[in-house]
């Protein structure tokens, strides 16, 4: 029995969460350092996973399999493919920055009760989310995945509802009402999605008799498990609905702007850059593998929904007056691209989509965290409250600009590669769809640059005149993310090499071949 590396990677942040929560009330700073330590240790383990993983080896590697709940046909089965490794690495990478960026977000306003320990809770919850997200990326048992897919809602819910944006002033009755509204909306949307998936999970068990992804996919491939067309479609819809809520896909997206608007910036990053990725990841891993026929059947509708997400999200982003909600709508637009890439059913599209998940995580983290620093300085989320910041805080403005340019997929920065791949992959099969999706990029330029122009350029507003520039801690958060955006923009090969073999497997699951280039088709 080899060392259970995947279990350790997921368990380490869980242990960290418990340890952090147990730190006494007065030792707030110790709790922060402890949380940071555990997140860095998890990152180290994630690196080990990435190193030990052989892209050209078996489809699932580092597998673990133990009996768990025999009566439900459930096993504790873990394994990663290239997509999983990439996303685990992304998660483990972002969490230390999220912790560092949120360093002061949960300091109690007043120390009234010795038993109330918000700081410990905040960092423990972040680590708990990390643990659950990582195990979702690792699970190759549908039930095991489902459990953590659902369970991660609870810590997320407390993070959104319990630790609102300081910019909205903590004691304000109205703000706290809006915050708990956002938290409840988040939870209810995702819970309904999850419960509908539960019905489908049970249905899958009735049809297949177990929950093992590999066994079911194998049985599907060699024909020993035959699903009636309608059954497969219903089960697919049950799964897809949950993932589409999580991702989120229009028209199930409305929880995201509320949640991201009311949460603190680091928590907003946690939602959009980490937790939501589970939704798109699960589409690739579960929808396509378990229900290839139904996936192909649903493709036209899903492509249309993805297109609507891209254009609608971008349009609404243009119209936002609130910085964080703007980023949220931009994310909805980007998730549209990711889903488009997945369901274009070409290898470029799916590689691009996976790469997009990673890049979107990094670029949104950069933009949103800088936006968070900005907001915490001025105490307002409204774009109109800013102006001329680049004159008083040039570093802040510069990093904000790079984050923004990454969001609009400027060539040379990482998201460009993935967006390009998605569009190429889509265009190869569905030219019209590819063309419409391109409008998303145009609109992205509009909302990003307008945001920058309104907040950073122009005459210096009196309220921002004394705004300090980024501090060392904040720079330590932003600089590595920007460096990463540039590195992956110029040299995306490590990630694509990791992802491509996994995408090939998925493509063969749905029995799709890439369309031939037009030159050959013309002959």
């Amino acid at each position: 029995m080899s060392f259970p590396l995947l279990t350790a990677t997921a368990a380490l942040p869980a242990v960290g969460a418990i340890a952090t929560a147990a730190v006494p009330a007065a030792r707030r700073t110790a709790a922060k350092w402890l949380a940071l330590f555990f997140s860095l240790a998890t990152l180290a383990l994630a690196v080990v996973v990435a190193v030990r993983f052989d892209p050209d080896g078996d489809r699932y590697q580092l597998t673990e399999s133990r009996a768990w709940i025999k009566d439900f046909g459930v096993r504790y089965e873990l394994g990663v493919d290239g997509i999983g490794v990439a996303l685990i690495a992304l998660t483990a990478l972002l969490i230390p920055f999220i912790i560092l960026a949120g360093w002061h977000d949960a300091d109690p306003l007043e120390t009234k009760s010795s038993r109330w320990r918000p700081t410990q809770g905040f960092f423990a919850l972040i680590l708990a989310v990390e643990a659950m997200v990582i195990i979702s990326f690792e699970a190759t048992d549908v039930f095991l995945f489902y459990i953590f897919f659902e369970a991660m809602l609870i810590p997320m819910y407390f993070l959104i509802g319990g630790f609102g944006d300081r910019a909205h002033s903590g004691s304000d009755e109205n703000a706290s009402a809006q915050r708990s509204y956002a938290a409840v909306k988040f939870l209810l949307y995702n819970l309904v999605g999850g419960l509908i998936m539960l019905a489908a999970v049970i249905g899958l068990y009735v049809v297949a008799g177990n929950f093992s992804l590999q066994e079911i996919a194998e049985a599907r491939a060699n024909g020993s498990l035959d699903m009636a067309t309608n059954t497969e479609r219903l089960l697919f819809l049950g799964f897809f609905f949950a993932f589409a809520v999580k991702a989120p896909l229009w028209p199930l997206h409305t929880w995201l702007p509320n949640a991201m608007g009311e949460a603190t910036a680091p928590v907003a990053v946690l939602i959009t850059a980490v937790v939501d990725k589970v939704g798109t990841f699960a589409m690739l891993r579960f929808c396509l593998q378990l229900f290839p026929e139904a996936s192909k059947w649903a493709t036209p509708v899903i492509l249309v929904l993805a297109l609507v997400s891209i254009v609608y999200g971008a349009l609404l982003a243009v119209g936002q007056r609130d910085i964080k909600r703007l980023v949220a709508y931009a994310s909805i637009s980007h998730f549209g691209f990711i889903i488009l890439g997945i369901f274009a059913m070409t290898s470029q599209g799916q590689s691009g989509a996976t790469l997009y998940m990673v890049n979107h995580g990094i670029s949104t983290a950069a933009l949103m965290l800088v936006a968070g620093f900005l907001i915490s300085r001025r105490g307002s989320r409204l774009i109109a409250d800013y102006g001329g910041v680049q004159k008083v805080a040039p570093v802040l403005a510069g990093t904000f600009l790079i984050g923004g340019l990454a969001t609009l997929s400027l060539p040379g920065l990482a998201p460009f590669v993935s967006e390009f791949l998605v569009l190429v992959g889509t265009f190869a099969r569905y030219p019209a769809v590819g063309i419409i999706a391109t409008f998303g990029i145009v609109l992205a330029a509009l909302y990003t640059l307008v945001l920058y122009q309104r907040t950073m350029t122009g005459p210096v507003k009196p309220e921002v005149a004394s705004m300090p520039d980024l501090k060392v801690r904040e720079l330590a958060v932003v600089a590595p993310l920007i460096a990463l955006l540039i590195v992956l923009g110029v040299y995306p090969k490590p990630v694509t090499e990791l992802v491509n073999p996994a995408v090939k497997h998925t493509m063969s699951d749905v029995q799709k071949k890439d369309p031939k280039p037009d030159v050959e088709a013309a002959k």
Binding site: D71, S113, I147, I154, S176, A183, L188, L191, L195, I202
Partner: protein, 554 residues
Amino acid sequence: MSATAVHSLWTTTAAASVNDGIDKIDAPNIEYGQLAPTLIVIGAAVIGVLIEAFVPRKSRYYAQLFVAVVALAAAFAAVVALAAGGYGTTKARIAAMGAIAVDGPALFLQGTILLAGMVAIFTFAERRLDPVAHGNRVDSFVAQAGAVPGSPGEQAATKAGFATTEVFPLALFAIGGMLVFPSANDLLTFFIALEVFSLPLYLLCALARRKRLMSQEAAVKYFLLGAFASAFTLFGIALIYGYAGSVSYGTVAKVVDGTITTVDPALAGTMGNDALLLIGSAMIVMGLLFKVGAVPFHMWTPDVYQGAPTPVTGFMAAATKVAAFGALLRLLYVVLPGLRWDWRPVMYGVAVITMLGGAIVAITQTDIKRLLAYSSIAHAGFILAGVIATTEDGVSSVLFYLGAYSFVTIGAFAVVTLVRDAGGEATHLSKWAGLGRRSPLVAAVFAVFLLAFAGIPLTSGFSGKFAVFKAAAEGGAGALVVVGVISSAIAAFFYIRVIVLMFFSEPKADGPTVAVPSPLTMTAIGVGVAVTLVLGVAPQYFLDLAGQSGVFVR
């Protein structure tokens, strides 16, 4: 078919004396070993009554508590010994001349009832929550039940330090009845068990120390409606006897599925008349659905849950449900399997409206006890989904769910007893605002229970829900599963609302305080949390246990 067919245990001696003369009475054959759990509990209850009569007032509380705890522990040990001895599986028999079935489901449910009863007794005995009255520590029960609320007599009783220690023997009698109820193997034993556990509960409901009028009103409501339900049940039993010429489960089942066709000449006019069977079984099932609080027989639940002393509410919500669902399972699986195609659609409908009704009405509740009452109605619906499966898996999933649910329930009601203001327990939801700021631990524990009720993964609620839904889906009730998940989503809303209230609202200046309980209540809550998490994370052992207990002896 002589009189023995009516009821062997009750009539053997009489029949013997008629046939063979007075000097040749055969003693009925009683398997004392297999009936030990029930006998111990009932015996202890009788001892409890004697304690009330003979032990000085000052020592009664300790004596009663000691007897109750020892009896429940001994009875549980007996159940474990029986199960270990194979009486749940290979040696499952019908005991006591056909009156009692000792088999897997019976032992599993008896074990659950005994453990739940033990935990409930701990909350009964809690004396640290209410402020000290005239130098005496007091529990949740009235000083003297007979004193008119608000009268000088009541004040005098309080002043004298009276305590209604009768609650312990009452609870033991109720538990004794509950032990018999799911293992009854003929309709008369079934009915007697029903009454034995119901009557003490009616009384217990009336004994609240605070808000006495509400408590008494609840008891009257419960008693009147319960009496109705019992009357229905009894009428149903009579009709079934008319149909089958017997009250024994096995014989009725055989008559239903046509194995026995001989007609008792005395019942020639009625035997085999399907109308009697259908009406009779509907009436019995109605009585049981009343006890489990299924819609449309649920009207009593919120009022009684709210009015009864909270420890009693917890006990009732957990143990009554276990016993009544056990009896319902046996009735439907042992007596009426031949009628499956008739009762399944009906139960299907009841399950649907129970799940949806409980979940939807709960949304508008503003009192925590009423909210939990409606939640228990919704849960009854989920359990019914497992009952409908009509498979062995269905039985074991229901058993598992009952076990998981009862500990969450007792724990949740135990937490409710802790949150207090000047008027006693602060059950209005608005008073729970900001509890998480003031007492993070209590609020967190209650949140765990609420999440378990909502069926969030990694809690016992999820394992249980998954088990019953899986059984239902495999039993061909896929649509029911869909209704189930929809009502779970609705139900999640109000559980979450309470969590929002506790954690995300500002505490009110005049809000309630959280009393620090004695180790008794702490144990009850601790057991609740432990069971909730263990059954959520590693349910395999208990699923196995329930799985092995899925077969009824016939």
